[in-house]
């Protein structure tokens, strides 16, 4: 069973991801903060990380870009594909520069497209 860590602060959306991806037989590890997400990524070494760009984390001040940077920096996780899925359109270039595998504007993608991309990114 393939593992996906989803870092997303919006629990409604997180539920949607979980519902669809579970149907597709993925093992989903949800995280609602950057800190928790990084711990899960380090512990599980998932096949894919789905990351939202704005994660307001007042304690750690970690935003999506920081999370991405850290995943790439740490040797054991640097190879893991990261799908950025966000409603911000302004940080696309920076995300790619930091090593994002793909960047999707959340609102512009249907669930069909979403699952297609996830499948593509998790297939060897």
């Amino acid at each position: 069973m393939k593992k996906i860590v989803i870092i997303e602060d919006d629990t409604d959306i997180l539920e949607v991801y979980q519902e669809i991806l579970s149907q597709l037989k993925y093992h989903v590890f949800p995280a609602t903060s950057g800190k928790l997400g990084l711990q899960l990524v380090a512990a599980e070494k998932p096949d894919l990380v789905i990351l939202d760009i704005i994660i307001p984390d007042s304690r750690t001040r970690l935003n999506g870009m920081d999370v991405l940077r850290r995943i790439r920096k740490s040797k054991p996780t640097s190879h893991i594909p990261v799908l950025i899925i966000s409603n911000l359109s302004t940080q696309k270039e920076e995300a790619f520069r930091l090593g994002a595998t793909e960047y999707i504007e959340k609102v512009n993608i249907s669930l069909d497209d979403f699952t297609k991309r996830v499948k593509k990114l998790t297939s060897p």
Partner: protein, 657 residues
């Protein structure tokens, strides 16, 4: 005179002028020596001329009546008196005519040339009429013998001339309101002037210092420091003093032989000369004052404009060296004139704006007189950056200016507000996106199971999905528009095939076309080369045009995309068989939030932003877009033409040539 003189006012004037004329005539005749009718100084002539100049031709009967009364009560028969009166009247009328024709009429004291014209034409020339007619009438009546004719004529003429030069100006200047001065400020000078005038006149004419020229300093004082009004009064005073003194047997014109003829001639010459001279000098000074005043006013206005205005004005040369700058530069940019002038204009620009301004300056230089406006950042002396709107205008051809005028003002506040507004819009749009995403996905999840729902519910769900899609598109367009306005359209240039992009977009809209029973066609010329452009944005543009074409075409219609080329450009045209766009609306098509009158009812889900965004993208890509929609002919619909340069560089060169 065209103006109808109201009866009562006319009668009053008539009576008054006749009375004044008679009194003045009687005073004048008191000084008649050679002949009772020919006086050394004849005040009525000056009064008559002033009357006609001021009140116009209709008052000639007053002059005639006055002159007749004076003469008929002096010597001679009614016939002779009438002839003399006619001569006096003619003289005034002709004199006034000459003044109006050649010396600006009532405005005659406004310029030295007019005063000279007045002195010569009305003073010297017209005054020959009355003596000629008068002397002839007196001779016919036997009141003078032929030997004395010339002396009488001469005295008469000079008497009239002296009267015109000394009396007419006083009347005209004091009845007209021009060049009046503030006596409160100058009362001391006025008093001193009259004292000096009287003292010098007294000394001259009581033989203390019998040199006529001694009256000149006072008159020149008035001419230069006071106004024409005081000068004319001064001339009149000296004239009266001279006449009285001469007849009393004192003054410089009386010689040892006590020859009254000679003395009179000298007196009259003296009066004519000081009068003409003082009036001319005085008018030169007042014209100078007038011009100076206007100049100062205009300078004051200019100063206020350049000092107090919120904008600054600089004059630069072709290399942007600052030649001149207005004092308000200090207010706008913080630099003094001394600091700014001589420096290089580019040095104040934000580094990334320099090329933009250089390009603009190149156009400014090649297009004299055409204004160019640009938005740039400039460095304030304090080190902060200001948003400045600058307008350039090439006045190199103007021999006095010889430079490029740059007019600029600080719009930082405005710009900040605009940016804040756009940022707000951006954030708001992003905040909207999250709930819209949830709606979208939830509806999609529900729609996936639509076969299990009752038909009505499935239909409502589809409707919900459509509205959601529309809202998403609207929000996306708003975000894109705000980026476009802020100038944030980074292009990702790659070599791409226009035909491939068109094919891809055709595929993308196929479902929509099928749903609306519109057939899609592609006509592509062979040999369309790849071009260096932003594939994603070009795709968006084409998709937008295709979607519009499909939406605004009734069922069973055809949408055709053609791709062709010429020497410079790739042309993509999207043609439909739709409802068309009315001519008056075509020019508004590419503006924000514009929707055609028919379009809104035909397809209510447009955002009115698609073509604005497409146009902005194409501007950035150095391409063009235009609409062709001959609404009158049915079936043609609308054709949208896009042209994209095959090479951005080549195109640029072409544009410059």
């Amino acid at each position: 005179m065209k103006r109808l003189v109201p009866g009562l006012r006319y009668l009053l004037r008539f009576a008054l002028i006749t009375l004044v004329y008679v009194i003045a005539g009687k005073i004048g005749l008191a000084f008649a020596v050679i002949n009772p009718s020919a006086s050394a100084i004849w005040p009525p002539t000056g009064i008559a001329l002033a009357t006609i100049i001021l009140y116009g031709l209709p008052l000639w009967p007053a002059v005639l009546t006055g002159a007749f009364i004076v003469n008929v009560t002096t010597t001679g028969t009614p016939e002779t008196s009438l002839a003399i009166a006619v001569g006096n009247t003619f003289e005034a009328v002709i004199g006034a005519f000459l003044v109006f024709r050649f010396a600006s009429g009532k405005q005659l004291f406004s310029s030295p040339m007019n005063v000279i014209g007045f002195s010569v034409l009305a003073g010297a020339l017209a005054t020959m009429i009355s003596p000629t007619i008068g002397v002839y009438a007196l001779m016919r009546g036997g009141f003078i013998d032929s030997r004395g004719i010339f002396d009488v004529w001469m005295t008469w003429w000079l008497g009239d001339m002296g009267s015109v030069l000394s009396i007419t100006p006083v009347i005209l200047l004091w009845t007209r309101n021009h060049f009046a001065m503030e006596y409160k400020k100058k009362w001391f000078q006025v008093v001193a002037y009259f004292v000096l005038l009287y003292v010098s006149g007294y000394m001259v004419f009581t033989d203390v210092l019998p040199f006529p020229y001694l009256v000149l300093p006072a008159l020149l004082w008035s001419a230069i420091l006071l106004t024409q009004r005081e000068t004319s009064i001064g001339v009149l005073i000296i004239t009266v003093m001279a006449v009285v003194a001469t007849f009393a047997g004192s003054g410089p014109f009386i010689d040892s032989a006590w020859d009254i003829n000679r003395a009179l001639l000298l007196l009259q010459l003296f009066v004519c000369i000081i009068a003409a001279m003082s009036l001319i000098v005085s008018s030169v000074v007042s014209q100078y004052r007038d011009v100076l005043g206007k100049l100062l006013d205009s300078e004051h206005r200019f100063r206020a404009l350049t000092e107090k205005s919120s904008g600054a004005i600089s004059l630069i040369d072709e290399a942007a060296h600052i030649i001149y700058t207005s004092p308000s530069t200090k207010t706008v940019l913080g630099y003094t004139q001394e600091e700014f002038v001589g420096s290089e204009g580019f040095s104040y620009l934000y580094p990334r704006d320099i090329t933009k301004v250089q390009k603009l300056l190149a156009s400014v230089i090649t297009h004299p007189n055409k204004p160019y406006t640009i938005l740039v950042r400039m460095k304030h002396k304090s080190g902060s950056w200001l948003w400045v709107e600058a307008t350039f205008r090439n006045l190199m051809d103007d021999p006095i200016v010889r430079g490029i005028i740059v007019n600029y003002h600080d719009i930082t506040k405005r710009r900040e507000l605009e940016l804040a507004k756009d940022e707000f819009l951006m954030i708001a749009a992003h905040q909207l996106r999250t709930p819209l995403t949830k709606m979208r996905w939830h509806t999609e999840i529900l729609l996936a199971k639509r076969n299990t729902y009752p038909q009505e519910l499935a239909g409502k769900l589809k409707g919900l999905h459509d509205y959601n899609t529309y809202l998403i598109r609207l929000v996306n367009d708003l975000i894109e528009t705000s980026k476009v306005i802020q100038g944030e359209i980074p292009l990702t240039l790659k070599s791409v095939s226009p035909t491939a992009i068109v094919q891809k977009q055709i595929t993308a809209v196929r479902a929509l076309a099928q749903e609306r029973t519109i057939s899609l066609k592609v006509n592509s010329e062979s040999g369309i080369p790849s071009i260096e452009t932003d594939a994603e944005r070009l795709g968006d543009i084409i998709q937008n045009l295709l979607t519009n074409a499909i939406k605004y075409t009734p069922p069973e219609g055809i949408v055709t995309v053609s791709v062709s080329r010429d020497s410079y450009d790739i042309h993509i045209a999207v043609q439909d068989t739709g409802i068309g766009i009315p001519k008056p609306e075509q020019s508004l098509l590419f503006t924000k939030f514009f929707r055609t009158s028919m379009g809104s009812s035909f397809s209510p889900d447009g955002t009115g932003l698609g073509l604005f965004i497409a146009k902005s993208y194409l501007d950035r890509m150095k391409g063009t877009i235009r609409v062709e929609s001959p609404v009158e002919t049915d079936g043609t619909g609308t054709i949208m033409h896009i042209a994209l340069p095959m090479s951005a560089k080549k195109r640029h060169k072409n544009a410059v040539v």
